[in-house]
């Protein structure tokens, strides 16, 4: 466990210490601010529904950017060989990197807590729904982060990792948009498999154990896949 935290610490340091990490963080916060301000100033609503509704789209662009270099860069520069010959397992490497990505997102989300706070000064927002929204956001990004970490383990090029991560998330997004036009049986099935229906249900305030379980399973599945992919590289 100690090594997982050491690796996580190194990744966080690189993420916030380099220009690339800072640019992604600032761009993310600017985009969040834009969508939040849109609702507040143009529509005059003291609430965050619009903000949470647009977040899956934003995350689709930003999480692949935060995750792309995690394994791809190590593979490209040869430092993966250093990591892989340290006395740690592949799964510990995956967990360390994943934890760093999740913490990075958590830090960015906590900076957006300024919005509900300013709303509470202006009006009387529904605190319960906002809390549910943040919980949903956290669960969704934990799943997305695992997908993008997996994408990063597939290639030696960070840009290709970005494109794979984005394509996977975008495909899931398109499918959930198209689900409404499909036959009911397929719709039910897609609702079970895709992440967005669960996210939207949580935004409506429907928070069940199944939502948490779904995102936990999604995360574990992609983390296991990442570990498997790293092991597979040794055999190729």
């Amino acid at each position: 466990m100690r090594q997982v935290l050491v690796l996580c610490g190194k990744e966080l340091r690189v993420a916030f210490d380099t220009a690339q990490g800072a640019v992604v963080a600032v761009a993310f916060l600017l985009a969040c601010g834009f969508f939040f301000g849109n609702n507040l100033f143009l529509m005059g609503q003291a609430e965050m529904r619009g903000f949470f509704a647009v977040m899956p789209l934003l995350l689709m662009f930003f999480i692949p950017a935060m995750a792309m270099r995690l394994f791809a860069d190590e593979l490209h520069s040869g430092t993966f060989e250093l990591l892989a010959t340290m006395p740690v397992s592949s799964m510990q490497l995956v967990l360390g990197k994943y934890l760093a990505l999740l913490l990075q997102l958590l830090i960015l989300f906590s900076l957006t807590l300024l919005y509900p706070w300013s709303l509470s000064l202006l009006g009387d927002p529904d605190g319960g729904r906002i809390a549910a929204g943040y919980l949903a956001l956290l669960l969704l990004s934990s799943g997305y982060a695992a997908v993008c970490l997996y994408a990063s383990s597939l290639t030696r090029h960070a840009m290709v990792a970005y494109i794979i991560g984005f394509a996977l998330l975008f495909a899931a997004y398109l499918l959930s948009q198209a689900a409404m036009t499909m036959p009911p049986a397929v719709q039910d099935w897609l609702r079970m498999v895709l992440p967005l229906p669960g996210y939207r249900a949580m935004l409506r305030g429907v928070i069940g154990l199944e939502n948490g379980a779904y995102f936990l399973c999604m995360t574990l599945f992609f983390l296991a896949l990442t570990g498997f992919q790293l092991e597979r590289r040794r055999w190729q």
């Binding site: 100690r2 050491v6 690189v14 430092t79 060989e81 250093l82 892989a84 010959t85 340290m86 040794r234």
Partner: protein, 313 residues
């Protein structure tokens, strides 16, 4: 310290390393020599548990490779080109590596101080790695690989891409380290292995061609005894007869030069055949003069070329 038995590794259908068996004793400096693409790096990657062998087994300090975490704890590994985290400073790189190896607190600080001093990187500890020269990066890599005080050091081409001064420095460093450790280093430069290693293995086209000290390998490649000489004022046929009578199994080639002297080359299968004495007597008895006599020196280079089937330039 290392024992390998029929170690093989395939990439797809082709063997990168085939049927490698060898033993490296504790405290020894072993050189892994071979042309590019011979399988040196693959061998090393198998020993550090980065690549699993397709077949065969090896033991590091008595621990089999399949117990990979225990094996990795005993090894300090410097991959080819000494990769390092360029976004970090030297001290952060060393701290991170040390912590991943399980060091902490005072021990980590002490080890970093010792290794940084030994590898002469104490002056650049707070510089970012991507600002350093290749020689410094190589030294940072070496320092990092030894932080956890491993018994065995595996260095993949530690001097590639360095200038002559840096090469000398790294060699001295390796020699200093080798006093207390077992070292396995790879190279395609003969003089380097000759200068640093106690014993060497020659690998070519995925297979082990020879293993031994430089002298053992030289003896292996010479496969006998050869003498070059220049003589004057003697009839070539008479000389051929005389030598033929004294040493029947010797092959003699005679080349008449423009100035009237004869260039002679004597080759015997028996390394103990008295070529020089016989030639001297034969020339003297025939009334000739011997101008020059030179036994062939078998260099490691000729061994290498012979074993790897390459033509010496």
């Amino acid at each position: 310290m290392i024992k390998a038995q029929s170690l093989s590794r395939k990439y797809g259908d082709t063997f990168a390393v085939r049927d490698l068996s060898f033993t490296i004793n504790k405290g020894e400096v072993m050189g892994l020599l071979g042309p590019n693409g011979a399988g040196k790096s693959t061998t090393m990657k198998m020993l550090v548990c980065y690549l699993p062998p397709s077949s065969g087994e090896a033991w590091i300090g008595g621990v089999p490779l399949c117990d990979s975490i225990a094996v990795r704890r005993q090894i300090g590994y410097l991959p080819e080109n000494a990769p390092s985290w360029n976004d970090l400073s030297v001290i952060d790189h060393l701290r991170f590596t040390g912590r991943m190896q399980g060091l902490d607190g005072g021990t980590l600080r002490d080890r970093i101080r010792t290794m940084a001093g030994l590898c002469h990187v104490d002056g650049v500890l707070h510089r970012r790695i991507d600002e350093l020269s290749k020689g410094y990066r190589q030294r940072v890599g070496l320092a990092a690989s030894m932080l956890h005080d491993p018994e065995l050091l595996i260095l993949d081409e530690p001097t590639t891409g360095l200038d002559p001064n840096q090469i000398v420095e790294i060699r001295q460093l390796i020699r200093r380290l080798a006093e207390a450790k077992t070292v396995l280093l790879s190279s395609h430069i003969l003089s380097e292995v000759e200068a640093v290693c106690d014993r060497m293995m020659i690998i070519d086209r995925s297979e082990l061609k020879a293993i031994g000290t430089a002298e053992e390998l030289a003896a292996l490649a010479s496969g006998g005894n050869r003498l070059h000489a220049v003589a004057r004022d003697i009839d070539p046929d008479a000389l051929r007869t005389r030598i033929g009578e004294a040493l029947p199994e010797v092959t003699l080639t005679i080349d008449e030069r423009d100035d009237g002297s004869l260039a002679l080359e004597l080759t015997a299968g028996d390394p103990d055949a008295p070529l020089a004495a016989t030639l001297f007597r034969s020339v003297a008895e025939g009334g000739g003069v011997l101008l020059e006599m030179r036994p062939e020196q078998v260099t490691l280079e000729s061994v290498f070329h012979r074993l790897t089937g390459e033509v010496a330039q």
